[in-house]
Symmetry: D2
Subunit: 337 residues, 4 copies
């Protein structure tokens, strides 16, 4: 951590501050410039991060040197983690495909769609039983009934089930049926849920918050990993920016940046990120080219009757065509799919 003092800081101010720093077991290195005094502090900066240095009127700014997360960092763990459950493996040379409807609507539909996406090449099945909806009047999902249908679809196909959990009280229930717990964008900083997911024993697919920085995203993952669960996938699903033709702004830059910062494997969600079925194909390919380890895609066989997100769901035939295109792009960037 580096502390920059205001020009008005006195020698006494410097003594007060350096005494405080030493009292915390750290070493201040006072460096007096012509216009500012700066104080790099040697030692574990997390100790100092807990002190509100800016409440001193003579402190102008505080510049952290280290990242505020550790277990998720590539510095701590240099090799990319591979998350594995059933046939799904995320983080390998082979790009994984997770597909399925936004919501589970009934048993027949989820089994039918699961078979279709499996045939096309998916190894994971998505489908929501508990749905976070902006309006209390929208369909909120089938709950445990939906989980049972997902399990039936898994039995019929062998696909790993990825489904969202919204409430700390449901973690145990969802973990009983699911192979992967999804934590949605709106819950990325629901810290109690992150802690529970970290203790669930199940892999976690963590979606980036609507306006979360990558630092916050990694801190959220750190919550899960710090509870003993390093089976975490990070999912870029678009952030909120200025554009309104698209539902979100797909921040694909995040993929190479996260690759550098963390060992956790990377998923991309082109359905949420675009909000429209016709843009899912090119943006899936872009995500693969940018370095995604997996795609999660909304597929529905009757999108115009879907109970949620029909406008961004592609039909199974389009998904099959997408998988073929993903394979070509994967090969072009030295991977497989």
């Amino acid at each position: 951590m580096i502390i920059v003092l205001r020009p008005s800081a006195s020698e006494k101010d410097i003594r007060v501050l350096t005494a405080k720093i030493r009292a915390l077991g750290l070493s201040p290195h006072v460096s007096r410039g012509k216009e500012r005094t700066v104080i790099p502090v040697i030692g574990d900066e997390r100790v100092l991060a807990a002190v509100p240095l800016l409440s001193y009127p003579f402190v102008e700014k505080v510049l952290p040197v280290l990242a505020p997360y550790k277990l998720v960092s590539r510095e701590f763990h240099p090799r990319t983690t591979v998350v594995r459950t059933r046939g799904l493996a995320v983080g390998e040379k082979r790009i994984a495909l997770i597909a399925g409807p936004c919501s589970v609507e009934n048993e027949a539909m989820i089994v039918r769609i699961a078979k279709a996406v499996k045939r096309a090449g998916a190894t994971g099945l998505r489908g929501g039983a508990f749905k976070p909806r902006s309006s209390p009047y929208s369909f909120q999902g089938l709950g445990e009934e939906g989980l049972r249908y997902l399990a039936a679809a898994r039995d019929a196909t062998g696909l790993a089930v990825v489904t969202e959990v919204l409430d700390t009280r449901h973690v145990e229930l969802v973990a009983r049926y699911a192979d992967v717990l999804q934590i949605g964008a709106r819950n990325m900083q629901n810290f109690e849920l992150l802690k529970e997911a970290g203790m669930s024993g199940k892999p976690v697919l963590l979606k980036r918050g609507l306006s979360a920085t990558l630092k916050e995203f990694l801190q959220a993952a750190e919550y899960v990993v710090s509870r003993g669960n390093d089976q975490v996938m990070l999912c870029e699903r678009g952030i909120r920016a200025i554009e309104d033709f698209t539902r979100n702004t797909f921040d694909l830059n995040a993929l190479p940046v996260l690759r550098e910062l963390t060992h956790l494997p990377l998923v991309a969600d082109p359905s949420q990120a675009t909000g429209k079925w016709s843009w899912v194909h090119p943006m899936s390919l872009a995500a693969v080219a940018a370095g995604a380890d997996a795609l999660i895609v909304e597929v529905h066989d009757r999108p115009e009757e879907a109970r949620s997100d029909g406008e961004q769901s592609i039909v199974p035939a389009r998904f099959a065509a997408l998988v073929r295109a993903v394979r070509r792009v994967a090969r072009a960037v030295g991977r497989t799919a």
Copy 2:
């Protein structure tokens, strides 16, 4: 709801669509222009909102006419709601002041600060027992112990206690000690928590999410009210935008806009919105001038030792000066404080 068709839409497409609309019990009014056909639909548009019209390739856009919330709207309930609990009343001509530390650190400190802010004119006491922190390594609050200290401070001062609840499992516990349940920005779309708060029997102070639109903010409030609890205060606490000198961007425009759209009373949080103690004073006055019904302000008597948010906390003497200034501005805009 108004449906705009693509130029390529055929007469058959129009028949398919209007049949579907009629089957839902609504009336389509087809209006053929030179460049586009538009179809205003008469009837409860919430029925149609559940249909993914954009999944039809011949639909270009769907324009909602009505707001997607009802119970919180001023159209539904023309008079501003007053939230009352103990001596705290929010929504009256008199501007209410809620003040206290970011976190409860021990009993002596919360009682001491409660007495100080009460003396200065506050009628509500803020203080966190459960703290949402970006990092798992930051102080997470004292939990139930903190709630007991808050209750002690209330006993000592008569102030209404406002404290955050983070987890559906804690709603009952927090409601046992608190007068007002605060739902923080990061949980504004934690819908399960909103539902529980709606059933708690306690007034709710709902903070706007970091990048929530006002429409989403009102829909979140609708979750609470739709469970039978109309004692909801909406709190503008800054949104995430491009500026980084300040912790957040204080969207004071939200106050007159919300005043027009909703009957719920409006709170402003200049501490979170600025992130720095020296800017809290002018921005509190600005919030009052823009129409806030209450302010919620972080006050700490030793900010440089605060366990959270010390840099944005003001000392009791500054808070007392702020209250005097708020009174002058309140009078200037036809209110009191």
Copy 3:
């Protein structure tokens, strides 16, 4: 255009409004719903767009049906335009590569880099002679001297020269030396400059503004085209959003969306969009997969001595490797490079 009235609108208000609409030569179709009256208006909505309908207190909202641009729309001109000048062609099956330094620093360097990028496969040469810099104390470019060096580099290689123009007074001068006039992000809404560029007789590479919506981007292009110049390329170069690891947020969603909305060819700038040399390679491939017709890439042979943007420039050997990778991805998506 569709006008939505407030619930309080009276029959007299409706008569006033419809009379005004008819007086403009348009036809109002009044449609009375239970909760709102809506008035679709038939006729050229650009006439009505000039009327401040929201200044009537009984008007709640005004919903445009048509896009506010025409000449640049795919509806007006269904086939993708190909911009051609010298060996550079943007908008064909073959993806074009424009490369070179941020700034022209001297004749030897621009000729040397031009030869290197030509050898690697580029058909366009970028290089700034007039530089828009946030600080008045930063290097502002060599001006006309820089233009002469660019011309020398073109003579030596045959590459088409793409260079920025900042000032209406320089359009003629820059057009004398350049093959393509670049209008930078900060000038996307410098409307006088757009008009001059539209009359220059030279192709224009128009960069998206830092926080421009796609609608505004297309309206800016409409300025150029409406002056008689349809040789316009649209360049996505990243927008300003919340992330700060990267210089900008690369909005690749913009590529498929623009492809649908406009016939103008699409360029992507991974150097500006990321701000760091090590992320240029994956994001170039992502842009190609998302549908870019051309890439514009910053290349410098001594980045650590570059007078601007050294941190986002790649060396010629990396550019050559990038071109090989672009070719593989181009083939995977049915194109060439």
Copy 4:
């Protein structure tokens, strides 16, 4: 400036870097921590800012210590500058009022409105002769004819004329008629225009760009001041954020922050910042409470016929009521109006 090295940086890397720093006449103070080596550099950091340090693979980040502007900083010039021209003074205890229509439409209207706002208490007259419009098909202003009408309105009232200049070629012309040159949000980084305005001999009202940070805003002002003109007013007019009920997000936090950073006087524009006439009144008062030295307000006597911005213009009677309210709030915060 402080340079943070990657953990992988070798002793040789450190020698290369410190040699380079010394060659520039600066002193590196190498400080070796357990996890990172940091190098505070003593001396004029602007010299080092021109070096792309991040192009060295062993440099992790570069943290500037000083602001990238000087002449506009309060550190350089501690007292607030007062801009004066005719009866208009901005930066004094008395809050100034600048009012008038968005565009000059004809001589009679501008003279009539000028008289009305003068009567209500304004000392400045706004009105656009050259208009920056998103669409090429919108009214672009009357040009020089409009300037003549503004001069006539000044002759009739004595108000100082504030009008926008869009093009470097028009600076001399506009300066012949205007008392204050306005540079609009879209031109905040039109650096050639800033330079010309800096040499015009006229005070400048510089509007903040749509997504400009305060640092960029101050650097833009530095362009003007560095050409010898310190008569610059900074105008907060709303930034682009996520909210769409309002035209922009009024960043009133900017007022106390700028007050701390700069000696230039501060103007607020509640008309642009809200986009709707009914919100102009409360937000004007909020701006005064937050510390504005002047307001610039759009006033039109027939808003429903205005050729631009009618929906955000208030009528003269409302403006007179606003001035009375501004006076009350001004007094409440120790100022006058």
